[in-house]
Subunit: 309 residues, 2 copies
């Protein structure tokens, strides 16, 4: 039996899992409001540590150099050029891997989730922003290091301000904050509407809007479908670029399901380059849920262990 710990390091939270072979046997969520990302990462691993753990993996939101496990930079996670792998290996004295969080999640989806048995897959995570990872020929493809940052592809000239510091990135129109924003805009224009009677201005969040959509509110469904359409237009670009076998959609907003993915698929099918001569690849919801990044990080560390032996 191979025992590993994987952690998924986000802006304010770390999710840690302990896996035995490929079964999750324990997991814990930590708040990390402080600036010491690597200290928080070490503390999270320690909580699930036992002496039979043979490898540790970390997925971190942002630009990670996989080859030496350095967190280079990310808009949401504190620090830059942090040698996370070196610190983990020194602290725990087992092999460690550190990768982008979406790469880790994609690896988990390929091994255990929606992409099992596939070779050429894109994972697209839709939440606070858009992240992603490329599976090419059955392995994670990183380019020089940072492939998959398509949340920041150009989507709109003179577009909205993005968290990354630029304007008009895809995630400015397709993300949780984008849904909340169009909700508030709609509400300001229609203060007497049914949705406005149930939600105050400050209550327009991605979560409340998607919940209202699920409950059948037509206005909320329209707002979700507007974000779904922008999401689908970007997916369509990714299909022209990669021609993947399958797109797996993860992330908090991505897991909303058909109210969002239905419109996304319709727009993607309509805008597909050469669309009458090729099928639209399946666009499916991730199989593993929010633990996928931590699970994938643990599995990547097992992979490294296997390759080393």
């Amino acid at each position: 039996m191979t025992v590993s710990i994987g952690i998924d390091v986000g802006g304010t939270k770390i999710l840690a899992v302990r896996i035995e072979d490929d079964e999750v046997v324990a997991q814990e969520l930590f708040s990390t409001p402080g600036k010491d990302m690597v200290g928080s990462a070490v503390a999270a691993v320690r909580e699930l540590w036992t002496d039979d753990v043979s490898s540790v993996g970390a997925g971190v939101a942002g630009l990670v150099r996989f080859v030496d496990g350095v967190f280079v930079w990310g808009p949401h996670v504190p620090g830059s050029n942090v040698p996370v792998r070196e610190v983990l290996e020194r602290e725990f004295n087992v092999p460690a891997v550190v990768d982008n969080d979406a790469n880790a999640a994609a690896w988990a989806e390929l091994q255990l989730g929606a992409a099992q048995g596939r070779n050429d897959v894109l994972l697209v995570t839709l939440g606070t922003g858009i992240g992603g990872a490329v599976i090419a020929d059955g392995d994670v493809y990183r380019g020089s290091s940072f492939a998959g940052e398509w949340g920041h592809m150009h989507y709109q000239a003179n577009g909205l301000q993005c968290d990354c510091g630029k304007r008009g990135c895809w995630e400015t129109v397709a993300s949780g904050p984008a849904l909340a924003r169009i909700g508030r805009e709609f509400n300001a224009l229609n203060p007497e509407g049914q949705l406005a009677q149930r939600l105050r201005q400050g209550d327009f969040t991605a979560e409340t809007i998607t919940r209202a959509a699920d409950a059948g509110d037509e206005t909320a469904r329209g707002l979700v479908s507007q974000v779904g359409a922008a999401f689908g237009q970007g997916l369509c670009s990714l299909i022209a670029i990669f021609d993947p076998e399958m797109i797996v959609v993860g992330g908090g907003l991505g897991s909303v399901g058909e109210s969002l993915l239905g419109p996304a698929r319709r727009v993607a099918a309509d805008a597909l380059h050469g669309g009458s001569h090729r099928p639209l690849p399946p666009i499916v919801v991730a199989g593993l849920g929010p633990e996928s990044g931590a699970i994938g990080a643990a599995l990547l560390s097992q992979e490294r262990l296997a390759r080393a032996s």
Copy 2:
């Protein structure tokens, strides 16, 4: 010595080369105004044929299924679902490969051109439209079949009509026709300008404008740099998506050089995701010129021959 013939099949022309090992020893350009693409392809190969030819390769502009060498569809080349490889192998009785023209050109650039010694490279061709190919881990990456069609990534909501039938694709603002269009628009607004005095309305083509830019005309330089900026913005998306080691720019307009690539690099550097934490990959002009597609097709056919033996 291995003797191969490679052809590059465009909308109205076929370029054929005969190569001995990796030296071009003969080449010929054919006009193909008719509808019988595969007949024209066979005729072009036959012109350079001798009995010591051991393989034939074809690069075709459009969607090509490499695995069986079928030309599926393209906006500029007549026919759909044409079994080009089957026809070539039947006619010439040697192994043949048929690939997308940009994939073939990228393979040539990797073997003999600007991308020698690299592993992760994008070829972006800029001409009538934008084409491209992905080199991943030292090999052509095709996804399911059609990867690299980023000329049709979404660039502008409610944008201009594209030849592909959709609107707002990247190539509607970055291509030879786009340069000619903004030239005519500028000219209509500034009929007394210096450039207008030298060029009549109908003379505003990508070629005349780039020639005027090269000769130092400031207006023409401004027009070229406007297209360069739109080109650089899209390249920047591709860098976020692939994080390549290098971008090789080919195609007629791509070979114009610094008057276009200078602005493209500046915009790409400025818009690069995490730009203060990573270098901009080199953006260089292709090394092989307009023969690269035909050469690459021949080399791919040699590769297939080598793998089979």
